[in-house]
């Protein structure tokens, strides 16, 4: 027995003219019970579950898969996710050292054989000096050693320096480089004080079509003794990027002024070295490199 709708109910059951297909003019609660909505909700839940399950499966598969692909002849042991991993000129460079390494840069292959590997380094210990030896190694794509050379640096307490390595290898053959500390001696500093560059100047000169850029620096020494056979590295930066360096061999007094200069060699971490070694805003820094053998 059906109760005929009251006129009021009847009026309500007439669909509003613009609410298209659904038969019931529903509140939001009503809409949830519509078969299509229910089907879609169920579908969403099923698909969400499937997504989550598959995502976790895929993730768990990814991990062993990447470590299972190990049998590459990497002479560096264990899968250490190296925080010091860098790239310069498309070559991966790994570092193991007590020094802190900044961004590496590589020169072109000079005279068909020499390639420089450069990086700013720092030693934060404020009381001891550090005498560090390295092996720098260039590997080919198969993990064979193309060239392994020693390198070394000495840093006074709290000083920055320039790591300079020299390969005798064609850059184009190199797939990977490692910089490995083979020895470190942390000891009372060879001397106290420092050198400060008070002024720098540059000079460009063309000879036989080759343009050479020189950098010169005036320095103040507060060193406690005159170092024996010191080096001073000049490094040129543009927009914070190391783009050139050179080495000078000045006589440094124990306290007092000195000056020296050298011809810049272009280096880069990008694909190509700069053509212009005197860009706008170029900034020059100088680093003292002492010879611990000569000092003792």
């Amino acid at each position: 027995m059906s109760i005929p709708p009251t006129p009021e109910q009847h009026a309500q059951s007439v669909p509003p003219p613009l609410a298209a297909p659904p038969p019931d003019p529903a509140s939001s609660g009503w809409g949830l019970r519509h078969p299509l909505v229910i089907a879609l909700i169920v579908g969403c839940v099923v698909m969400l579950t499937a997504t989550l399950v598959l995502a976790s499966t895929a993730l768990s598969l990814l991990r062993p898969a990447s470590s299972a692909a190990v049998p590459t002849p990497t002479p560096t042991p264990t899968g250490d996710a190296d925080p010091g991993a860098q790239n310069a000129r498309g070559i991966d460079i790994t570092t193991h050292s007590d020094l802190e390494f900044g961004q590496y840069a590589l020169s072109d292959t000079l005279e068909g054989i020499y390639t420089y590997l450069i990086a700013p380094v720092s030693w934060s210990d404020q009381t001891s000096g550090i005498d560090v030896s390295f092996d720098i190694t260039a590997f080919d794509a198969e993990g064979r050693i193309l060239d392994r050379r020693p390198a070394s640096t000495y840093l006074l307490p709290g000083h920055e320096g320039l790591f300079v390595g020299l390969f005798t290898v064609q850059l184009s053959d190199v797939a990977r480089i490692s910089v490995e500390q083979t020895r470190a001696k942390v000891d009372a500093p060879l001397m106290t004080g420092t050198i400060t560059m008070t002024r720098s100047e540059t000079l460009a000169k063309s000879e036989d079509g080759i343009r050479t850029v020189y950098v010169a620096g005036a320095f103040l020494s507060t060193l406690s003794k005159a170092p024996t056979y010191p080096d001073v590295y000049f490094a040129a930066f543009a927009d914070g990027e190391l783009y050139a360096f050179c080495v000078a061999y000045p006589d440094i007094p124990a306290g007092g002024e000195f000056a020296d200069s050298c011809a810049l060699t272009a280096v880069t971490r990008e694909d190509r070295v700069r053509d212009d070694l005197l860009p706008d805003g170029a900034e020059f820094r100088a680093y003292l490199e002492l010879d611990p053998l000569a000092e003792r």
């Binding site: 509003p16 613009l18 609410a19 298209a20 659904p22 003019p25 529903a26 509140s27 939001s28 009503w30 809409g31 949830l32 519509h34 299509l36 909505v37 879609l40 909700i41 579908g43 969403c44 698909m47 969400l48 499937a50 997504t51 598959l54 995502a55 499966t57 895929a58 598969l61 990814l62 062993p64 898969a65 299972a68 692909a69 190990v70 049998p71 002849p73 002479p75 560096t76 042991p77 264990t78 250490d80 190296d82 790994t94 193991h96 092996d135 198969e142 993990g143 064979r144 050693i145 392994r148 490995e180 500390q181 083979t182």
Partner: protein, 267 residues
């Protein structure tokens, strides 16, 4: 203004979009999972697990001994690795039998032997130079005094010189016997050397069921081929589960082969 119908419509559209997105994600992840499954299947099949008597392809060799990951990168073929321990000072040496597959040229190979900590830093790096005549096997040997923190040891060829050979051959083992004097063994060998040669380092490698159980190091003048000679060598046990006792009697089934380290010919 939005009426209740518009809200429901919005809900429907929203659910439809969510359903489509989730369906696509599911299909994508399904495909990725299938791809990964087939990839990991082939990847686990690929790596050559070192057999008890490892014979490695030229170029690269790796094994694990006593918990140390040991690997080599060289143009010689690595036939076997062994870690041996000196009874006198407890020093550990890494030994590697290496064959020059080139039938016409001698190979002088410079090796760096490096022990690494777990963080990848170097504990120690040493050098060994091995000369192997054409088609012959020599032995690389490096002492590694400080292995306490080591997890890995690498043998890396840093340079190789291919040389016109002069002296070839070595010796064969006739007898090896215990002497009752600690790790000292007595041997009789027969020369197979092409030219009698003075001051040759020789290594008698003892194997049991194809596993190297120790290396006995000696030093001898080797006479002309066919002539037998005697001498003594110092036995070092390999780092294996059951090291053998050589003082009073050698187990019968230990097989010995002798490897010589000849000097490279002058260039």
């Amino acid at each position: 203004m939005t009426g209740p119908g518009d809200q429901r419509r919005g809900l429907l559209i929203g659910l439809s979009i969510a359903f489509s997105v989730l369906t696509l994600t599911t299909i994508g992840l399904g495909a990725a999972t299938i791809a990964l499954l087939s990839f990991s299947g082939s990847a686990t099949a690929a790596p050559a697990t070192p057999s008890p008597t490892p014979s490695f392809p030229p170029g690269y060799a790796a094994t694990t001994i006593d918990g140390y990951e040991i690997s080599a990168v060289t143009d010689l073929t690595v036939d076997a690795f062994a870690l041996t321990v000196s009874a006198y000072d407890g020093d550990v040496s890494l030994n590697a039998l290496m064959t020059n597959e080139d039938e016409t040229r001698g190979a002088q190979v410079f090796f760096d032997i490096t022990a690494y900590r777990e963080d990848g830093s170097i504990i120690e790096r040493g050098l060994d130079i091995v000369y192997a005549p054409p088609g012959e096997t020599s032995i690389m040997r490096s002492s590694l005094p400080d292995l306490d923190e080591a997890v890995a040891i690498t043998v890396e060829q840093t340079a190789i010189d291919w040389l016109a050979p002069d002296v070839t051959g070595g010796a064969t083992v006739d007898t090896v016997t215990a002497t009752g004097l600690g790790d000292l063994l007595e041997y009789t060998l027969t020369s197979t050397i092409s030219v009698p040669t003075e001051y040759v380092d020789l290594f008698l490698v003892g194997s049991l069921d194809d596993e190297i159980v120790g290396v006995c190091t000696g030093f001898e003048d080797i006479p002309a081929s066919g002539v037998s000679f005697e001498g003594h060598c110092d036995w070092e046990n390999a780092a294996i589960a059951d090291p053998i006792d050589v003082e009073d009697e050698l187990p019968d089934d230990v097989e010995f082969r002798v490897y010589v380290r000849l000097d490279a010919p002058d260039e």
